[in-house]
Assembly symmetry: C2
């Protein structure tokens, strides 16, 4: 078993870096706070006897040598970046649990045959630079590095420039590391495990996602002196489309979801009818056909609304991934570990996207989930118990040790 | 008649200060660009033989002495501040036409009995610091100066601090200047005059306004892993309310209007269901009872939507003024001037708020309107013809001279 108190201390230490306003974190990717978090993680890894490599996307790989260094390593990890008003566990748990696994292995003097690598993937959240899971995506060959470097944040700063600014452009070309398997421990970010009183989610699939950025263009004009029939209100057009998004998602009960988290109007002045509205629609489902249907209906219904209101509309796909099945062998290893340790468990589909979803394309991969309070995530109030964290980390330890062949 | 070419040159010179991105202006109140515009106006006024006083709200008064200096002056003016993506004429025309009137009077060696004052009112637009017409409102005793100083912009900067920063806190206590009458020339900002081919709008009333800032609070959570029935989506609540705003305004055909120009969601991240949405609803009508009805329905319908969606909602009145009738004597002076000069004209109600609407509470006041292309304003593409500007300025000259008793 791992040392639950040590894991918890590390989580609380890391949470001091890039604190939020209400007890959570704002450690967005490639900010100074992100650099500080990375530096701390690097120091901890070196203290735990690992050597840390960084690739050209800033992905960090901390390696514990195996008895047979030439064998492909078993990886485990997640991400240290957070939402602007994020929690202390989303991503962080998976990275620091990896560190705790290594600390525990060393405490017990075990040396597995295969090397073990703890990884921190860059820009998983996608909040500052869309899309999410950017750097695991480049690692897996889904995006090119040049394209990733050119992603811009809301201020027009480029990913590549910001990565260089914080000093995390590594020498190692991205995607060249071989791996035997990867495991990612993550909080569920949904309500199922807590509601059913299960300690562990054995993740069999990840649901797919589609992000469509919608730009509605009308005509800026005066809110007081422009008669109602002459208005071309882009904000009102957006409102009608947002209602449709909700309708479309509900029409695919019980699993599909849809919402817009990103919404902006221009020029955003109280007495100017919005001439432009930009927002991003997030649709998800475990079934690809459902995602495709929702996306098609968004485009058709959005176009119809725009036409009726004499607005222009444009759609741009700014992110997406297909539903993914995890590797049966790895999933079995997770299930066996939970069984052996006596933790209650159930199969679960991941509602969120994770680095593991991309890595699954290039290596056998699986995920372990632990509950979170009220299913709440992407919120500073995100919370888990020490016991949940420890149970998840225990399962990670055993699944990894089995796979790394002790 | 005034010198139309000189007036146009001044308009084009001023438009170079705080240029927009597409040919208009971004000279928001109390910015460096605003200071630069004020300095230029001051220099022009001094060159035209006027002495410039500034009051404690930054309102600027350029005075041409009359034959009888003890008589109360006739004022004319408007504002030099603009929207973030504003035009070159909204407000500016009324100030620079006042300057042109003085230049013409001096060219012709006329000295009216009464002094003549050209005024630039601070923060008419209300886009950076709500409410609109802030400083004419303080002048007229509608707001206190302390309250006005405490207004904050989106970055939390205070009006009083920014006024001091640009060096325009005058020694003169606000509201103490006496005046015999005030005239404001302004572009219509609506489509009526152009559509009917009229040169001049004789403004009999200003319609009233109500600005209600609505805050909808839900719960930030993950867009992927939060099941639809568990969502408390503040952005979706806002969308439903925006539709109601439109419905409510249409229900009072033909004059009432309603829209939201200011819209923000938090934390504004693509994969976070908005936990909070803040937006400002702008309702207007020439009838007070209609405004009150629309406001009451916004609150009732908004509350209902919030209750149904398990959201919290709060309403704050952040601006407003009642419909105002202008002074019959001053309105007659405008009509007589248009008649005498042979300009086509019609009575009109102002759809926008203007400094004249507040000043009407403390002195006889009227407004003159000229057409603008497509009724477009609060848009960088706002346009007028030289002839329209000159006609409006001619009418201003004659109305002012008659009132100032030559
Ligand atoms: N786990 C997580 O929150 N990932 C961010 C990508 C997503 O929106 O699913
Ligand atoms: N004239 C003008 O645009 N004034 C701003 C105040 C308003 O919104 O009516």
């Amino acid at each position: 078993r791992i040392d639950g108190a040590r894991l918890w201390d590390s989580l609380m230490e890391m949470a001091k870096v890039g604190p939020g306003l209400r007890g959570g974190n704002n450690r967005q990717t490639l900010t100074d706070a992100d650099r500080e978090g990375r530096d701390l993680f690097k120091r901890w890894c070196e203290e735990a006897g690992m050597s840390v490599g960084v690739d050209s996307m800033g992905n960090m790989f901390a390696r514990l040598e195996g008895a047979e260094p030439d064998l492909d390593p078993v990886m485990m990890g997640s991400h240290l970046d957070t939402q602007p008003t994020g929690g202390k566990y989303d991503g962080v748990l998976g990275v620091l649990a990896g560190l705790e696994v290594v600390r525990s292995i060393r405490d017990q003097g075990i040396t597995p045959r295969r090397p073990i690598v703890v990884v921190n993937w860059t820009n998983e959240e996608g909040t500052r630079f869309a899309p999410a899971m950017l750097s695991s995506g480049v690692f897996a060959g889904v995006h090119t590095q040049d394209w990733a470097y050119a992603r811009e944040d809301a201020e027009g700063k480029r990913f590549g420039d910001e990565l260089a600014r914080i000093g995390y452009v590594g020498e190692e070309p991205v995607g060249q590391r071989k791996m035997h398997a990867m495991f990612e421990l993550h909080i569920e970010q949904g309500p199922i495990l807590e509601a059913e009183g299960k300690d562990i989610g054995v993740v069999t699939h990840g649901q797919g996602l589609s992000w469509t950025q919608v730009t509605v263009t009308g005509k800026e004009s005066h809110t007081g002196s422009t008669p109602m029939p002459m208005r071309r209100n882009a904000g009102l057009g957006m409102a009608r489309i947002l209602e449709k998004v909700d309708e479309i998602a509900w029409s695919h009960k019980p699993h599909a979801v849809g919402a817009a988290g990103h919404i902006e109007v221009f020029p955003n002045s109280r007495n100017v009818i919005p001439g432009k509205a930009v927002f991003t629609v997030d649709f998800r489902s475990p079934e690809l056909a459902v995602i495709e249907d929702m996306e098609a209906r968004l485009r058709a219904e959005g176009q119809k609304i725009a036409d009726e209101m004499e607005l222009e509309i444009a759609f741009e796909k700014v992110g997406g991934f297909d539903p993914v099945p995890f590797d049966e062998g790895c999933v079995e290893a997770v299930r066996r570990a939970a069984e052996k340790l006596g933790y209650s468990h159930r199969e679960i589909i991941s509602g969120a996207g994770h680095d593991a979803c991309w890595i699954a394309r290039v290596a056998p991969t699986a995920m372990i989930m632990c509950p979170c309070v009220d299913g709440l995530s992407h919120n500073e109030d995100e919370e888990i118990s020490r016991e949940w964290a420890a149970a998840g980390c225990d399962v990670l330890l055993h699944a990894v040790l089995e796979t790394a062949e002790i």
